[in-house]
């Protein structure tokens, strides 16, 4: 029996969300008195995989078949299922990304297992009972869920599990090959288009600077972008902003957009409607800048400034630039 973690790469590195999944997996393994292994697919640097040792991973099975550079569900599923069989994995951990969750739901059926997505805490294990905590009602509540099948699949919510810092230990990286056939790639994407970003992916970002209708128009977005740049942050926006095409839809956070949980969320000129909060309320620290002292967002904030964004934000940019980073 063992625990298997599915690791995703981005630009050759292991995603931070996958480091968190690895940390989760190794802590579960410890509680169960077993080992945590990982499986990685596609283009990830071997050093980055070996560094998973710091998260408590003893061995990484690495399938770098060229055809796996882009996500192809069927092929990825076969690789993970085979790794799970080889390592007799009873618990499979991945991060709650679009890729992770899409694979998890198929894998759960294929392996006849119990699946919990959006998991925010380590499990409570006693005897045969295995209970996880997951976010429900768009961040407004948590639920305790018992996973009743023999095989358990867990998708860990981003930024809820601490990364371990066991520097010095490295994981053994073993090549892993699955003998995939062309049929496994039949539903491969025709084309993959990556956005132009300064390297900070909104879903992975530790800091997010977000703008709302209070910024009046796309021509003022340099305020959001310059502050984000000075802080090494990703940028986001409210729904009306993307609906009016001031910003791309991929930046829209909230109930009907992306859900994020960064360490720091800075909201500029956003009123804080409940549907907006649903996408950002699990951020660790929330800063609200709004000229209206009655804006509902202040109720959910840790820090606030009542003032005109056009006066306040330039001051923040200046102070942020002065930080030694």
């Amino acid at each position: 029996m063992s625990v298997l973690v599915f690791v995703e790469g981005y630009n050759g590195e292991v995603k931070k969300s996958s480091l968190e999944a690895a940390s989760y997996g190794s802590q579960v393994a410890k509680a169960l008195g077993t080992d945590a292994k990982a499986v990685a697919i596609g283009e990830v640097k071997e050093e980055a995989l070996a560094a998973l040792g710091a998260q408590g991973i003893s061995k990484v099975l690495y399938d770098h078949d060229d055809r796996l550079h882009n996500f192809v569900a069927e092929a990825y599923l076969k690789v993970i299922a085979q790794a799970a069989a080889q390592e007799s994995a009873k618990v499979i951990v991945f991060s709650n990304t679009n890729v992770g969750a899409a694979l998890g739901s198929r894998l759960a059926v294929r392996l006849n297992g119990s699946l919990a997505t959006n998991v925010t805490q380590l499990p409570e294990i006693s005897g045969d009972s295995f209970t996880v905590t997951r976010g429900v009602f768009s961040g407004k509540a948590f639920a305790q869920v018992k996973l009743t099948s023999d095989v358990k699949l867990i998708a860990v919510k981003k930024n809820t599990i601490e990364i371990l810092n066991d520097a010095g230990t490295t994981a053994a990286v073993e090549p892993f090959s699955t003998g995939l056939s062309d049929a496994d790639f039949a539903a491969a994407p025709k084309e993959t288009v990556l956005q132009e970003t300064d390297g900070v992916l909104l879903q992975e970002a530790e800091i997010v600077v977000s703008g709302g209708r209070g910024l009046k128009g796309p021509e003022n977005w340099h305020l959001v972008e310059d502050l984000a740049k000075a802080l090494g942050a990703a940028t986001a926006c409210s729904k009306p902003v993307s609906d009016q095409d001031w910003r791309p839809h991929s930046e829209h956070v909230g109930q009907t957009g992306i859900t994020i949980s960064p360490n720091l969320y800075i909201a500029i000129g956003i009123s804080g409607a409940i549907q907006h909060l649903a996408g950002v309320n699990s951020s660790k620290v929330i800063v609200v800048i709004n000229k209206d002292p009655e804006a509902p967002f202040f109720k959910a904030a840790d820090y606030g400034i009542v003032g005109d964004a056009f006066e306040v934000v330039p001051k923040l940019i200046e102070a942020a630039k002065a930080l030694d980073r």
């Binding site: 059926v109 429900v136 509540a141 018992k146 991929s250 649903a278 840790d302 820090y303």
Partner: protein, 246 residues
């Protein structure tokens, strides 16, 4: 082309969430239920495809009788008929089994869902249905067009970009914005919805894989600390030294 749209019945987006006094169940008291917002994208896009290419749109809900109001709303928006699987949606696997059964029996070409239900936030049912039927599940998609009678072209979101996928019917897809502009029922729709068929069927027997035991709410924030706009730069100092997030 036969399209099946799966809709779930969820608390309105502005609802306050409460639990029963023993924290064992969601307290429905005073809560208004709506069609899951993402499912509205699936429904409207299905109706648009029907208008372009012909065919039919059926809606499906796994739920008890109190969901019929929202099923009727989906009919009023433009679906042709509806099926309610008469069961409490116990967990994602249970629901997926019901949907897969109906989809197979009805030989649907496209099974459309929302990206996730805003109550249980599972992001699970579409993948499970795809797996149970042995067909692709493209999720979450924000663009869906038919290239010809048998092939669809979808754009789906991945972290940091998008993928363009072409698939043969049948397939499962989950919708998110900006797939379309969700429609609202008009008067004529509401009138005709009353006479459209809503078939109630009993569930197929299947197991569940998870058991919800209790609920809790996040801790309340400690209150907001205000910084004077004139000294806005001080915020950055606080974020570094006090909140320790910079």
């Amino acid at each position: 082309m036969k399209i099946l749209v799966c809709i779930s019945n969820v608390p309105d987006t502005t609802s306050k969430i409460n639990f029963t006094s023993d924290n064992a169940a969601f307290d429905k008291n005073g809560v208004q239920f709506v069609i899951n917002p993402w499912d509205e994208y699936a429904l409207t896009r299905a109706i648009e495809l029907k208008e372009e290419k012909g065919g039919s749109v059926s809606v499906l809900n796994v739920g008890e009788a109190d969901t019929e109001q929202n099923i009727r709303k989906a009919l009023a928006i433009g679906a042709d008929d509806a099926i309610r699987v008469n069961a409490h949606p116990k967990d994602a696997f249970f629901v997926a089994q019901q949907i897969a059964h109906v989809a197979k029996e009805g030989a649907y070409d496209i099974i459309l869902m929302g990206k996730e239900s805003i109550d249980y936030n599972g992001f699970q049912v579409h993948g499970m249905v795809g797996e149970l039927l042995g067909i692709p599940a493209i999720t979450p998609a924000f663009k869906l067009d038919m290239l010809d009678d048998t092939t669809a072209r979808l754009e789906k979101e991945i972290e940091g970009g998008k993928e363009i996928v072409e698939v043969k019917l049948p397939f499962v897809a989950s919708a998110q914005q900006p797939m379309c502009e969700p429609r609202i029922p008009n008067m004529r729709g509401i009138m005709t919805a009353r006479t459209k068929p809503l078939n109630v069927v009993e569930p197929v027997s299947t197991e569940t894989k998870t058991e919800y035991t209790s609920y809790s709410k996040p801790e309340k924030k400690g209150g907001v600390r205000m910084v004077d706009a004139a000294n806005a730069g001080e915020l950055i100092t606080l974020l570094r030294n006090e909140a320790k997030v910079l």
